[in-house]
């Protein structure tokens, strides 16, 4: 009895902390419609600010007052940073699509991670315990920390305070009104920009408070941002994006599941949380208290970018084929290895863009399928001594099976909910791989995944990779030009028109999702054999971001875009990463610059360039027609 009570109380204490983070996230989404990845970074900065401020303040103000003054200072610091992010970055993204927003705010995450290590170092930093709350409360023979009791109270108190702000102040009324209809509030004369900045500051303050209050329980570390933001995403999705009460209920639900579920699923309570989220979303696709997202109508879709004329393209492809076939003859083994990486990343990016750019399906968890392919192949070799040939078949099949199951859930959801679910799925697989030591090798992964004897040499293996990746890219390319690819694109352009010409969009999207998953799985399986090892990185959010960055810098609206991105990105990584300690900061900056300045990527830039070049030499059919209509 007391044991259950203790666990429930533990769950409620963590629910409070989760709520503080999630309610800021949901408020920000409600008003700005931006899913703010950087919210986790603010939480982390709050924690680091706390450990920094607390020593000098305790010296000046004494242990008790100093502790709480440091909390207040951390909250203010976090609010200021969040407001700065709004002014510098988010403001420019309000009209972009969800994916660009997610990616850009993830760029901020990367930059903050390196900054934190630069300023505070890579080691965990312990903070002091809360004065007056260091003791324990006895519950039968169990002892429960007094600080956790305090934490349990924080959640409802903050909830009440926020409710009063939202319902009893003019500012709160504006926030609620903006959540309903942003443009209307602008028309009423409210100062839109100031409102956005202040909401970011409010959300930042709450995240900072959560980070600072976490310090007496756990040290500040440079990984707390991504782990908290994943949980906060799950909570906002379960509660309904934009609903504060929903976030409160969902935080309690998730907190309790984590505390009680540890008995059922000691390996990964996140799996249990995911199951609850999946069930909630199947029954209520907009979360417990959310409202259906109104997708922007009228967007008709742009014709795909074309950089070269069909004949020039054929010529370029032939030249590329000759280069790729002969490359090992004149390249060092290192460069052949690099070329393998380029081929695999190109396939990975191409598979993502098949559903993303072509199909308009928002995916923020493509690493799931790369990772399933890699682990599927590697574990078959590791546990059951499968030969490479069989493992290369199994990997893509495992990934396709994953896409089949997860696609069923994801494709029923719209927009940002779908993006969040794809992210959550990838994170759950990651945590499974991380925690299921006996099967997946945990953090170390599995080693000794080498090609069969005949393909042991780098050059032979290169040809294996070349053959399989080119075949897979070719098949997907062909599918893009076939009815299936056209139907996916039709669904991106106008779902309503699709339905009105008899197309069952869901089944087509499902097929496309599985095909893309299988192709990503193939690149993952080949990746495992090219490295000889697989670890949790292949399932991590960083792998997902790699795939998105490749598609983004190449250009989403061109079939060759992901291939360009898949070529450039591994090369950048190979040549720039060794030169710098701040690779993540560099990558974050590349993401921000691309999103802000070249949203159509390299392909869009090149096609604009070639259009300009062509139009100066010959008038296009459009300008000819205009001229003839004018009677010239």
């Amino acid at each position: 009895m007391w044991e259950i009570t203790t666990q429930v109380l533990t769950g409620l204490a963590s629910a409070s902390n989760l709520f503080l983070v999630a309610c800021g996230l949901t408020l920000i989404f409600g008003v700005t419609r931006v899913v703010n990845f950087a919210h986790g970074s603010i939480y982390m900065l709050g924690a680091y600010a706390m450990v920094t401020f607390v020593s000098p303040m305790r010296e000046y103000l004494g242990p008790t007052l100093g502790f709480w003054a440091a909390v207040a200072a951390s909250v203010i610091f976090a609010a200021v940073v969040a407001a700065l992010i709004e002014v510098v970055l988010l403001r420019r993204l309000y009209r972009s699509n969800h994916l660009f927003q997610l990616l850009a705010t993830f760029g901020v995450v990367l930059i903050v991670q390196d900054l934190v290590i630069l300023v505070w170092g890579a080691d965990d930093i312990l903070g002091p315990r809360a004065p007056g709350l260091t003791g324990f409360v006895s519950l039968g023979e169990h002892r429960f920390p007094a600080y956790s009791i305090f934490m349990i109270a924080v959640g409802p108190v903050v909830f009440l305070a926020l409710w009063l702000i939202l319902h009893r102040t003019r500012w709160g009324t504006l926030i609620r009104a903006a959540s309903q209809d942003k443009e209307m509030v602008g028309l009423l004369g409210a100062r839109d920009k100031l409102l956005m900045t202040s909401v970011l500051a409010l959300g930042g303050a709450l995240a900072g408070l959560a980070g600072a209050l976490q310090i007496p329980m756990q040290p500040a570390n440079a990984f707390m941002d991504v782990s908290i933001i994943t949980e906060a995403f799950v909570i906002t999705v379960i509660g309904g994006m934009g609903s504060m009460t929903g976030a409160f209920l969902a935080a309690i639900l998730v907190g309790l599941i984590q505390a009680l579920g540890i008995q059922l699923f000691p390996k990964s309570t996140l799996v249990l949380v995911f199951l609850v989220m999946a069930i909630v979303l199947v029954i209520r696709p907009w979360g417990l208290l959310g409202r259906p997202e109104v997708e922007a109508g009228g967007a008709m879709g742009e014709p795909p970018e074309r950089i070269l004329s069909p004949n020039t393209t054929r010529f370029a492809l032939a030249a590329l084929a000759i280069f790729l076939l002969l490359a090992p003859q004149f390249m060092s083994e290192y460069h052949v290895g690099l070329l393998i990486e380029v081929l695999l990343m190109s396939l990975f990016a191409f598979s993502l863009n098949f559903i993303l750019g072509n199909g308009g399906l928002v995916s923020f968890g493509h690493a799931a399928y790369f990772g399933l392919g890699a682990y599927g192949a590697a574990l078959a070799v590791y546990h059951w001594r499968w030969p490479m040939e069989a493992a290369l078949v199994l990997g893509p099949l495992v990934a396709a099976a994953g896409a089949l199951v997860f696609g069923w859930f994801v494709l029923r959801l719209a927009g940002v909910y779908a993006a969040m679910l794809t992210l959550a799925i990838a994170q759950i697989l990651w945590s499974l791989a991380f925690q299921w030591n006996e099967f997946s090798g945990g953090d170390n992964g599995v080693n000794g995944i080498w090609p069969s004897a005949w393909a042991q040499s780098r050059v032979v293996f290169y040809y294996v990779v070349l053959l399989l990746s080119v075949a897979a890219i070719g098949a997907l390319w062909r599918a893009t030009k076939a009815p299936l690819g056209y139907t996916l694109r039709a669904g991106r352009d106008s779902p309503r028109r699709c339905e009105a010409i008899g197309i069952n969009l869901l089944t087509h999207r499902w097929a496309g999702f599985v095909l893309a998953g299988a192709a990503a799985g193939l690149s993952g399986a080949l990746f495992a054999f090219s490295k000889g090892t697989v670890d949790t990185h292949v399932l991590s959010v960083h792998m997902t971001v790699d795939s998105l960055v490749m598609v983004l810098i190449g250009g989403v609206n061109a079939i060759t875009g992901p291939l360009m991105g898949g070529t450039i990105y591994p090369l950048l990584k190979a040549y720039i990463m060794p030169l710098t300690d701040a690779w993540r900061m560099f990558l974050g900056a590349v993401i921000l610059l691309t999103v802000l300045l070249f949203p159509q990527g390299l392909a869009g830039f090149l096609s604009k360039f070639s259009r300009r070049f062509n139009s100066s030499t010959e008038p296009t059919s459009v300008s000819l027609r205009v001229a003839s209509e004018r009677g010239q």
């Binding site: 008709m300 014709p303 009815p483 056209y486 197309i503």
Partner: protein, 257 residues
């Protein structure tokens, strides 16, 4: 005349507001009927129930004696109902011809094929349809670059792919210049006459309604207040009252002249 579409006691409420209540009417083969009424009269709700975008609360819809109420839009299309939208919707990233080819591929349930080239599928058939709507010369232009009136023509070509027995047109001439409107309606009347397609349309432009409809159904606050030939509807005092109020009985003639 044989009955093509039969609507019985159709009702739909949104949160206590009766958008459509107890609407019943019939449509004969090859008949051209307009549904008119002031804003909020329930025209669009009615239309969306016929097209499958909304599920009726009560009442029945049958096409050739077969019940279609509550079916999804794609199933209704397969039974021979074409549809154009108030805000024309086509696939902007595709060419005019590819838009029609998509519909033809869907008609033959070939949209999931991953290998054959879409651009080669049923191109000749698509071009024939485009010729019929006078869009042949624009066949290879991207739909995103077309003038709005031309997008409407593409929608009609798409709607004709499954040789429909009924065409639902929501505000066919909305957003078009007055001169273009008659061009489009002439096209519609000649196309449906040669293919024996019945047309049910909503429309705000009274010149179009009275110029082309064989019969007119007038909705107000979700209910049918008048129905009959253009002359009967024009003479109905109820209709005058809805459209004009009582003060100015002369302006109806101006509108419909």
């Amino acid at each position: 005349m044989t009955t093509l579409l039969e609507v019985r006691d159709l009702s739909k409420s949104f949160g206590g507001v009766k958008a459509v209540s107890n609407v019943s009417f019939e449509l004969g083969a090859s008949e051209m009927v307009a549904i008119i009424g002031p804003n909020g009269a329930g025209k669009s709700t009615c239309f969306n129930m016929l097209g499958g975008q909304l599920v009726p609360d009560t009442g029945g819809i049958s096409l050739n004696g077969r019940s279609i109420g509550g079916l999804p839009p794609r199933a209704i299309w397969r039974l021979g109902v074409g549809r154009t939208f108030q805000v024309a919707s086509t696939f902007g990233s595709m060419t005019v011809c590819e838009n029609v080819q998509m519909a033809l591929a869907s008609l033959r349930s070939e949209t999931a094929r991953p290998w054959s080239r879409m651009q080669d599928l049923y191109r000749d058939e698509a071009l024939q349809l485009l010729e019929r709507v006078q869009m042949l010369e624009h066949a290879d232009r991207s739909c995103a670059t077309l003038a709005y009136g031309d997008v409407k023509r593409v929608e009609i070509a798409i709607a004709l792919t499954n040789a429909p027995s009924l065409l639902l047109m929501d505000e066919p001439t909305a957003g078009m210049a007055p001169k273009e409107r008659f061009g489009l309606m002439e096209l519609v009347t000649s196309v449906v006459a040669e293919r024996s397609v019945a047309v049910l349309f909503t429309e705000h432009d009274m010149d179009v309604v009275f110029g082309y409809a064989h019969r007119i159904i007038v909705l107000d606050r979700g209910q049918i207040v008048a129905a009959g030939s253009p002359a009967e509807v024009r003479a109905s005092p109820k209709v005058r009252q809805i459209y004009l109020g009582d003060e100015d009985p002369g302006s109806m003639e101006r509108v419909t002249a």
